[in-house]
């Protein structure tokens, strides 16, 4: 298979084929854990690291894994990576680990990871696979963090509250109050709020894409008209 262009990989992961907004994979952690920015960021980083490492490992061993057993091997690779990340978080980011709880082991079941391992890393070289994992992870993580920030601002009226769980005592004062407590909207913190916010994000992306393609069409029509005019 021919090598893909890095810029295409980046555009795919971040925008055109964004795991959360277009492929709509990994919704369970995406919706459940995005109630604060810090939670979202913590899970985003854990998912990103899992994607990069799993893609790298799968790409490295792809020539030795026989097709009949590739799925069990990939699942095993992903499960090991996630377990290691879980142990490290438990040891070094204990309070964040307690907040994220069940959603760290559940990264194993996040379809985006096995999808990239099977669909990309098993057919491409190490460098491309790691880069693809990085871009897909960033695309997923950005949506997660934006969703978390939206829900935190609307639902609790704060931003980055509890940042010390992730960044240590220096971040104690990072949390800021954006809205007064009376002006917050509880729905944003509840599961329906997560669906509504994600729906809004998907709609915004679609809107931007449609406007861009309409512009492109208009530009093409204009170009054709002017060339037709020149010919006439």
């Amino acid at each position: 298979m021919s090598d893909p262009r890095l810029s295409d990989l980046a555009r795919d992961g971040l925008w055109k084929n964004n795991p959360a907004l277009v492929q709509v994979l990994g919704l369970c952690p995406l919706l459940a854990i995005s109630n604060t920015t810090v939670n979202a960021l913590g899970l985003a980083i854990a998912t990103l690291v899992t994607l990069v490492v799993a893609n790298g490992v799968v790409s490295t061993i792809r020539d030795w894994v026989r097709p009949e057993v590739r799925l069990p091997v990939y699942v095993m690779v992903i499960a090991s990576v996630v377990t290691i990340i879980e142990l490290v978080m438990n040891a070094h980011f204990h309070s964040l680990y307690n907040t994220l709880g069940i959603f760290i082991p559940l990264i194993v079941t996040n379809c985006i990871i096995i999808a990239r391992a099977e669909g990309f890393a098993s057919r491409h070289g190490f460098g491309f696979s790691v880069f693809d994992g990085l871009m897909m992870g960033l695309g997923f993580g950005l949506v997660l963090v934006v969703l978390g920030a939206m829900r935190e601002v609307i639902g609790s009226g704060t931003l980055l509250a509890g940042a010390d769980q992730l960044f240590g005592p220096v971040a104690m004062e990072w949390g800021i109050r954006v809205l007064p407590e009376q002006a917050t909207f509880l729905l944003a913190l509840m599961p329906p709020g997560a669906f509504i916010a994600l729906g809004l994000l998907v709609a915004v992306k679609q809107g931007i894409d449609q406007r861009a393609s309409r512009r492109a069409r208009e530009a093409r029509v204009a170009a054709e008209e002017s060339s037709a005019g020149a010919a006439g």
């Binding site: 894994v65 026989r66 069990p72 091997v73 438990n90 204990h94 609790s156 509880l186 913190l189 509840m190």
Partner: protein, 236 residues
């Protein structure tokens, strides 16, 4: 046919090798992090115990002084994991701590001055609420903290100390102050506030604290009597 068997063997060996590698890496990380994780767990536990025993003067580390709670069911802690008869071995006691069926003793000069006991109530708005209650030898509440809850964010979760001061109002109360029939939220004719928009969560917590105090009174001899038992032994 022969080739097929060879294929199967090669594939299985490969599979085994990959699984061995995976297990190896996980085991290595586990070994490297186990100590730190245990330290974190202890620190969290000690922090919670210290909060509910605030104001009491003690000179031991209560996190290292767990004891088996008799009748765990009456605290909502589920079926007993250990037989309460006799002194449990340290390993068995560790199992009880993990299962949340252990209390913790605070001592001064070897005498038990206060205990921290967990209590679980199923009457929350969504799922169980697990509390830790600090009680001194006179049956007075030293402090109450929520260990685990799933109450509505922004409403019911104000029972947590980092969301509102509500839970601090228990400190200094006892059965009899207010009288037992007034251990209710105001809406039910009791003396404890509820907060706007949420009655169920405070009601559940008030009931659970009352249960814990009744439990402490019922089992006073076991909870606080350990050192007394020891002194009579020494005397005889």
């Amino acid at each position: 046919m022969k080739i097929e068997v060879r294929q199967v063997i090669i594939t299985s060996v490969l599979l085994a090798v990959f699984f061995g590698l995976g297990v190896g890496f996980v085991a290595y990380t586990h070994q490297k992090t186990a100590e730190q994780i245990e330290l974190n767990r202890q620190a969290v536990l000690l922090g919670q115990i210290m909060e509910v025993l605030a104001g009491e003067d003690y000179d031991n580390n209560p996190a290292e002084a767990p004891f088996l709670l008799p009748e765990p069911r009456s605290l909502g802690l589920g079926e007993p994991v250990l037989d309460t008869a006799g002194e449990p071995s340290p390993a068995a006691l560790g199992r009880a701590v993990d299962a949340g069926q252990a209390g913790f003793r605070a001592r001064r000069d070897g005498e038990v001055v206060a205990v921290a006991i967990p209590v679980v109530t199923p009457r929350g708005y969504s799922g169980d609420i697990r509390l830790l209650v600090g009680v001194d030898a006179d049956g007075e509440v030293l402090g109450v903290r929520v260990l685990q809850q799933n109450e509505t964010p922004g409403l019911g979760d104000k029972i947590k100390a980092d969301r509102s001061d509500w839970i601090l109002a228990f400190a200094g109360r006892r059965l009899g102050d207010p009288p037992e029939e007034d251990w209710k939220v105001e809406k039910d004719g009791g003396v404890f506030d509820q907060f706007t928009g949420a009655t169920i969560s405070p009601r559940a917590v008030v009931g659970a604290v009352r249960d814990a105090l009744a439990y402490a009174r019922r089992h006073h001899a076991i909870l606080f009597g350990e050192s007394a038992g020891r002194t009579t032994e020494e005397a005889s």
